[in-house]
Amino acid sequence: MNRKTRERLVGYSFIAPDITGLIIFAMVPAIVALVISFFSWNGLSDMLFVGLDNYRTMFQDPQWRNSIFVTLKYSVFFVPLNFVFALLLAMLVQKPGPGIGLFRAIFFAPTAMSMVAVSFVWKYMFQPYGFVNYFLSFFGITRQPLLGSMSQALYSIAVVSLYMSVGYYMVIFLAGLNEISNEYYEAAEIDGASGLQKFLYITLPLLKPTTAFVLVMTFLQSFQVFDQIYILTGGGPFYSTSTAAFYIYYNAFQMYQFGYSSAQAFTLFAILLVVSYFMLRALRGGNVSTGS
């Protein structure tokens, strides 16, 4: 066997296990999701081909429309706030100083934590006699229902999500901020630019690739939110926190409507692809990377 053949052989055999895994556990499921969506199936009985019926049902299902609306509401709240707080944290800890390393670590720590455990302690704090209501009472705010309220539950969940994710995106923004050469700021200072002007005309424009990455990632994340919902509200009260991913899970694994929930899952997939494509295009300014 010559050298070239041997290199090919090693090349194929080194990648074979992972490729096989990705095909079986990612590619095939993506195709299967589409196929099942044309069938009526409870997971055990024979599959019944129903064409586009599941999709038709979906468009008329007020519960599904509600889920999309809830997901959008959550996304519109979570994505911008996550952006603002992550950038604020990054700018606060960017310059060195005593104890800054510790502050960075504290903000970043939730990245390592379990969403289930953190959601659980927040659930405890959100109770009518919990710590959040105690804290609010110092500002003269009367007891709020929070998770028990149709209008407050979703935002309470978003607070937990922000707690878990801003530190992670702070690190991404730190990488982006460190890429910006100090010369720009020095030149602006000579011209007498104010802090706000430097932020608006130097930091924000030069941070655009990082911003694009963060917005698209958090958008994708917000459309798939599940763990927090499962622990904090279970989709309630009255479906007010039943997001798309939660409703899909509910239809598949509580109602055993595999065909119907596959149609929803595939629709969610399509929405995510289309929206992230347009977000990337709109935000395009240089390459879309973390800035490295």
């Binding site: 290199e7 090919r8 090693v10 090349g11 080194f14 990648i15 296990p17 992972d18 490729i19 895994g21 990705l22 556990f25 499921p29 993506a30 299967v32 999701a33 944290l89 606060l92 502050f103 670590a105 903000f107 939730p110 990245t111 390592a112 934590m113 379990s114 969403m115 289930v116 455990a117 659980f120 302690v121 927040w122 405890y124 704090m125 109770q127 006699y129 919990g130 992670y168 991404i172 730190l174 990488a175 990455f213 990632m217 994708l220 994340q221 798939q224 499962y230 991913a245 899970y249 595999f258 929930s261 596959s262 899952a265 595939f266 969610l268 997939f269 692809l273 990377s289 973390t290 490295s292």
Partner: protein, 274 residues
Amino acid sequence: MKTRIVKGILRYVLLVALAMFFLFPIYWMFVSSLKSPSEIFAFPPKLIPENPVWSNYSKVFSQVPFARYMLNTFFVASVVTIVALLLHSMAAYSLARLRYPGRNVLFILVISTLMIPFSAILIPLFLIVRNFGWIDSYRGLIIPAIPHAFGIFFLRQFYLGFPRELEEAAIIDGSGLVRVFFKIVLPLSKPVLSALAVFFFLANWNSFMWPLVIINSPEMRTVQLGIAQYGGEYNNPWAIQLAACTVALIPTLIVFVILQKQLMQSIKMTGMKL
């Protein structure tokens, strides 16, 4: 000069306030896990329990088999991490260094799976795993968690920048490619592999949706399922569940404290998401 000092003070005031917001839930989880039934919803809440009920912790382990859950999770997360690191570094080395027809197609195939959201394939993944007879088993928890496009992509970037000279010297000495990889390349990848190992371990320790779907029997539960589906007695469940949360969090916080610099570094490099 004066404004600078004011700004500096303002910065630290903000930092301290934010740090308190971040640390408080963890503090609250711990102190409330020691509260008695009469204290758990006392209003105003007690910032420090008067008589810490340490038996809440022994109840975590006696009322439900929480030690078993921890062992299950530790086993699953460790096996996934070790196997994934080995397979991904082989795949990445193959994509970065070895020449063969179809390599670019395979690379695109790997990258394209990054676009597939987990919640979109949850149902078919469940059906496939059920078809293999892996429901309620370690295999079901471990094997589907191993293939991971981001890990391959991350390591490929690393091997693209890896100095060729070392490998070439060994090849001239007559070593085969497989030997070169295992004796030279893999040992030199230790720093990057350890960063990735932290990610994989944490992600699998904290994983929830997949175990929720495929695990039915109580003794196969992972830690996260154990917290979510707490099945102990209903006297003071909040405190005992908070104690369980604290126990579940301890290993991840230890890993975090030791390796947080490496974690931050690898996120900065790739935008890796758990």
